[in-house]
Amino acid sequence: MTDKRITDHPVLGPAPGERLTLWVDDQEIEARSTDTVAGALWANGTTTLRRSRSGQPRGLYCGIGHCFECRVTIDGEPGKRACLMTVRQGMRVETGTEA
C-alpha cells in the first residue's frame, strides 16, 4: 500500500483488518477495514479534506470527533466527521466542500 502504513508494529504486531476499496472524489483507493475515512485518505496522501469559507485548506486535526475540521460528504450525506466514520467497501467520499 503506501509508505505511511505500519505493516508490523514491534509491540502491537501485524496490522489488523482486511483490504477493501472506496471511492474518493471519483478515484478508487485502497484501504483497510480498520481505517477511519480520515485515516484511509491520510495513508493515501490526501491531507486536505475541506476548505474554510475563505478557501483555506483544512484536514484531520483532533482525530476524535471534537473539532469538526474533517467534515466530508459520505455516500451523499454532507457534514460527516471523517475521523469517526469507519470505511466500508464501495463507500463514496467527496472532499473539498466549503463550510
Binding site: 509508505d3 505511511k4 502504513r5 505500519i6 505493516t7 508494529h9 514491534p10 509491540v11 502491537l12 496490522a15 489488523p16 483497510r32 480498520t34 481505517d35 477511519t36 485515516g39 491520510w42 495513508a43 491531507t47 486536505t48 479534506l49 474554510s52 483555506q56 485548506p57 483544512r58 484536514g59 484531520l60 486535526y61 483532533c62 482525530g63 476524535i64 470527533g65 471534537h66 473539532c67 475540521e69 475521523c83 469517526l84 466514520m85 469507519t86
Partner: protein
Amino acid sequence: MDADVIVIGAGPAGLTAATTAARDAGARVVLVDENERIGGRLPGQLYRHKDTWVIGARTAERLAEEAAEAGVEILSGHQVWSCEPGWRVRLESSRTLTAPKVVVATGAAERPLPMPGWTLPGTLAIGAVQQLVQVQRILPGRRVAVVGTDPLAMTAAEEITLAGGEVVGIFMPSGEPGQHAESSPRKVLHSLSGFASAAPAAWQRLGARMLRNRAIAAAAARLMPPSGIPIGEAKLKVRHRAEAILGAGKVEALRIRKVSAQGVPVGDSREIPVDAVCLSGGLYPLQELTTGNCSLVEVPEVGGLVPLHSPELRTTAPGLYVAGNVTGIEGAAVAERQGALAGTALAADLGAYRDPGARLREAAAQVELARAEAVLTFLPGIFSGRRRLSELWEAHAAPGSQSEGKASDDA
C-alpha cells in the same frame, strides 16, 4: 422509561460504571457513545511502564467483555446532544432515551495550542496521532516534530519512533496568548515530573522524580544541554521553542528558535523540514452535558471546570453521577476505578447491598490506590486539587450551608 440507568461515554469510566450497576443491582443499563469502536481514549494508548508496555486496546477489550457479560446494552455511534433532568438523554438522531439515573463519563478533550500556521493540514493533535498509529497503524508522517510539554507529548514521540517514524524533536510552545501549556524550561521540567514512571531509562526516572522539587527543576533548566534530553529515541528540546508551522497547502517545515532558561528567545530562527507536526496543549474535562444540570466548580489543579461531586461521585442533582476525566484529568487506571465507584454508589442508591458503606469504602480505596500508583500524572497539583474538591463538597453538604451560591451553576 427506556432503562434504569443511562451511561454516557464508553471509556474506562463509563464501561466499569455500566458493568457495576448492571451486575450488582441487576439494573437495565444502556451505554451510549459517539464512536463506533468502544473504549473511549483507551485503544489509542501505548506507553512504557518500567520494563513492560501498557496497551490500552487490551484493557478496552477486557472491559467491553465484562460489560457484555453483565448484560449492558451498548449503543455505539450515537452522539448525545443534551441531557435534561428526568432524565431525558437526546441523541443526534433526534431519538430520546429516558431513565431515572444517568452517569456522565464523557472524558476529556485537548486544549488547542494555537500558533502561526497551525490550521495547515498535517498539523495533528495527540488524539489523532494515537488513533492513526496505534489503532489504524498509519504513520502521521515520515519526519515529525512534536510541540508540547505534557506527558502526552513525550508518549506521542515514543509512539511515532517505535512505529518507524522519525521525530526531529519535542519543542517548547512559544508561550503566545491562547496557549495554555508551559513554555519556560524551568516550569516545563517541573511539570514533566508526572512522566516519571513512564520514562524509559532508570536515570531518567530518578531525574524526573527530583524535578518535582521546583528549585532542582530551575537549576536543571540552566544546565540543560541545548541538544536536548533523550526521551526514547527522540530529544526533548527544552531550549528550543516552536514559532510557526510553514507550508503551501500542507505542513512542510517548523520554524524554531533557541531560548534562555527563562524562556527568552536568543539568536536567529531556523526552519526544519517535516511532513507533520503534532501539537499537545494538555487536556480539560469535557463537562458540557452536566452544565445546567448540577453545580460546577472551577479547580485549575484538576484541569478546570468540573461538576461538583461527592467522594462517591454523586453530583448535586439527584440521580446524576459522574466518573472519569469529566471529574478531573488523570490516567486510564484511575478512570476505570472511578467508574466502579460511581457504579457502586448507584447500585447502593438502588438498594443493592446489605452493607453499602463497606462496599463504597472498598471501591473508594481502589481509586486512591490507582491514583497513588499512576504511571502518568498529567497535572502536578492533582492531589491538592482532589482535596479541594472534597472540601467544596463538604461545604456544600453541611447542614444549612450557603454553598450552592458559591459553586457556579454554569460557565
